[in-house]
């Protein structure tokens, strides 16, 4: 046990901090298209400078470093108020672990360099928490004219983050009609430019446009675009979720730390008046956030032996939810009328905090996982 940086970690942190100070964009534009342009530039610059794919194996274009470097990266980005790194951990690991050599060659460079954007097509209007009940079908069609076989896709996805700005979709669809639920799904790599595919933006409760619905109406992809084997989709999806809740959590932690730091600065400099009750509430928020930071560090340390994320990741997700929702209540309470009348970043962050207990597996699904797979309580 040693919470200090090693010499190498300290050197990395120093180089990173200097680079961020020089390159980080300022406040992100509110206009969604302008925001995406800024983020794309930022992620490509991060890649050029060697800050992307830190833990990803060297043979696939990453840096092969230990998981604690992801924690340092997110610490420093958060402390500087810089935008988070590209959220590609789950898709890159899916392709690395389950893809063919051709998939890896074709897709990993674009993913890591942020020159090709991907989205994840899992949820459907009638398959949210009950993901295995999804209905989008991909039917294998053998051509009669000698051209290669294809999967023909029909159905609808929803909550597909960043679909509007992406070029590819990692799609979970039902391919094996005769198999039980968890062996009936396959993971497909689908270009969003495929004919028969249509993306429609969803405007969120806080006025942003990061989600979309994706409609499939006879869209066809070659059978080679199956990741792993047909029927592996559920297994792959479950392993991805571990990565989504793993080091990515630190990205969330960095964002929350930034939010609290700004509030503390505003109070310290007298820009936001705060009496004893408000000051105590801010300390409470810090106390919760600090517990989360320390817990995520512990999770990353437990992965130093290269083990893949397990069901304990749900504990991290539930701690993020608790800290984020408390912090946003405190932020709104302390800022008072100013936040309500501005209807700006504070309100957006608040709504986002309510989404935290819904997306990526709801709070209730995470509790099921902790109860059944961590504590060993029986399933019905």
């Amino acid at each position: 046990m040693d919470y200090r940086d090693t010499t190498d970690e300290a050197a990395f942190r120093g180089r990173l901090r200097a680079w961020i100070a020089e390159h980080a964009p300022g406040h992100l534009p509110r206009d969604p298209d302008a925001r995406v342009d800024v983020l794309n530039q930022w992620h490509r610059a991060m890649y050029q400078a060697g800050w992307v794919g830190l833990t990803f194996p060297v043979e696939y274009g990453g840096h092969g470093m230990s998981p604690v470097y992801e924690a340092i990266l997110n610490d420093e980005l958060g402390a500087a108020g810089a935008p988070p790194p590209p959220a590609i951990g789950h898709i890159t690991n899916a392709i690395r672990l389950f893809g063919s050599d051709e998939h890896k060659r074709a897709h990993l460079p674009g993913l890591l360099s942020s020159t090709v954007r991907w989205c994840q097509g899992f949820s459907e209007p009638n398959a949210g928490s009950d993901l295995a009940g999804l209905r989008t079908r991909a039917v294998r069609i053998e051509a009669t004219d000698g051209s290669p076989a294809v999967y023909r896709i029909d159905g609808q996805k929803i909550w597909t983050s960043e679909a509007v700005w992406s070029q590819w979709c990692l799609l979970l669809a039902r391919t094996e009609a005769d198999q039980p639920a968890h062996r009936a799904l396959s993971m497909l790599l689908v270009p969003l430019s495929t004919p028969g595919l249509d993306c429609r933006e969803i405007i969120t409760a806080y006025g942003t446009r990061e989600f979309a619905e994706v409609f499939f109406d006879g869209a066809e992809v070659p059978v080679e675009n199956v990741l792993g084997r047909p029927g592996d989709g559920w297994t792959i999806a479950m392993q991805l979720l571990g990565y989504e809740r793993g080091p990515a959590d630190v990205g969330w932690v960095a964002r929350l730390t930034r939010m609290l730091t700004v509030l503390e600065d505003d109070v310290r400099l007298g820009r936001v008046p705060a009496g004893p009750t408000e000051r105590r509430a801010i300390a409470h928020a810090w106390t919760e956030l600090r517990a989360l930071q320390l817990h995520v560090q512990r999770t990353l340390s437990s992965r130093l032996d290269g083990s893949t994320p397990g069901p304990e990741g749900s504990i991290d997700k539930l701690l993020v939810t608790r800290a984020e929702q408390l912090l946003n209540h405190v932020n709104l309470a302390v800022r008072g009328a100013a936040a309500i009348l501005a209807d700006g970043d504070e309100i957006e962050a608040y709504f986002w905090s309510r989404a935290q207990s819904i997306f990526g597996g709801t709070q209730q699904i995470q509790r099921n996982i902790v109860a059944q797979r961590v504590l060993g309580l029986p399933r019905r």
């Binding site: 046990m1 919470y3 000051r279 106390t287 320390l294 560090q297 902790v370 504590l375 309580l377 029986p378």
Partner: protein, 342 residues
């Protein structure tokens, strides 16, 4: 950065768990009503758990603060009534940190002299001699440590009768305003007091984590076996979610406590104290949530004297208040972090 237990630390946990099992709190109907605990105390002294943090040159065990926290946690996890935290950890620490002479320290460290800390009646800080105080975790103790107005360490006599307290695993005994005392050190420097506070708060956090672990284990075991509607109640989602919430809070608390206990020996006094306040505030808050979830998971049986659930609640209530409650530490955190000019 490595936020994980070392192999040696795993061994300490294993050993401490075995010892704690032998020193476990008996059924609440058989709790010791007297001051007598000689067997348990001698065992902790012989095995080297008592005074293990004190410097080796003074006869202590030279252990890292994290190791002491791990032992404290294990003893708390069996709700042990042996006064380890008061007389094996905090008493020796205060005597050592504030420079008690070897004539005083030697007996405390080798376990022959039973000395704990005295707190003021609010239980928030070390008592002042000449004022009424409370000897904390005083089962079998003869003296307590308090401070005078110039921060000199004083050895004070403890009143014989046991005071009422919600926590039935620890004995509290009064230190009278007129109790005889002996000044045993020069005025302590502020850093030494800060060091003691940081260490003490981290150890209290460890005690709380132990109680939480015990609550989660017991309640999960119970809902796996208790049947209603023809099935174990642990199959119901409403029950599972309570258990999951308790587990999540326990692990957040453990992560906080690990860092605070490490920081106590590794960081400068102010940083160590901030880490300790965070851990004490967080653990106190969530421990109450966890033991209350435990009560709900046990259902009616938790409201009986014979079931241990109330013993856990009682221990949490006293620990949470000892050396400052949640509000006290969060106000202190605000004073540090929101200070103008930082």
């Amino acid at each position: 950065m490595e936020a994980a237990l070392s192999e040696d630390q795993f061994l300490i946990v294993e050993t401490a768990a075995r010892v704690a099992e032998q020193l476990a709190c008996p059924a609440p109907t058989e709790l010791p009503t007297t001051d007598d605990d000689l067997v348990g105390w001698e065992m902790l002294t012989e095995i080297g758990f008592a005074s293990m943090h004190v410097d080796g040159t003074h006869g202590g065990g030279d252990a890292h603060s994290t190791d002491v926290a791990l032992v404290t946690e294990q003893l708390a996890a069996t709700l042990s009534c042996v006064p380890y935290l008061g007389q094996g950890v905090l008493g020796p620490e205060l005597a050592w940190r504030l420079g008690a002479p070897s004539s005083v320290l030697a007996g405390i460290v080798d376990g022959t002299r039973r000395v704990t800390i005295a707190l003021d009646p609010s239980l928030r800080s070390i008592a002042r001699v000449g004022h009424r105080g409370m000897a904390w975790d005083a089962r079998g103790a003869t003296h307590a440590l308090a401070l005078d107005a110039t921060r000199c360490l004083c050895l004070v006599e403890i009143a014989p009768q046991v005071e009422r307290s919600a926590d039935i695993t620890r004995v509290l005994r009064a230190v009278d305003a007129g109790a005889a005392f002996e000044v045993v050190s020069e005025p302590a420097d502020a850093d030494a007091v800060t060091r003691f506070e940081a260490f003490a708060l981290a150890m209290l956090a460890a005690d709380l984590v132990g109680v939480m672990q015990s609550a989660v284990d017991a309640a999960v075991g119970y809902v796996k076996s208790r049947e209603q509607f023809g099935v174990a109640v642990g199959t119901f989602q409403a029950v599972q979610h309570l258990a999951a919430d308790a587990k999540v809070l326990l692990e957040g608390a453990r992560s906080s406590m690990w860092f605070a206990s490490w920081a106590s020996d590794e960081l400068d006094p102010d940083a160590a104290l901030l880490a300790a306040r965070q851990a004490k505030a967080y653990c106190s808050r969530v421990a109450l949530e966890v033991v209350e979830l435990q009560v709900q998971l046990f259902g009616g049986i938790a409201i009986t004297w014979e079931e241990r659930a109330h013993v856990r609640v009682r221990r949490v209530l006293l620990d949470a208040l000892t050396l400052g409650d949640v509000a006290f530490h969060e106000d202190a955190i605000a004073a540090t972090r929101l200070r103008i000019g930082d």
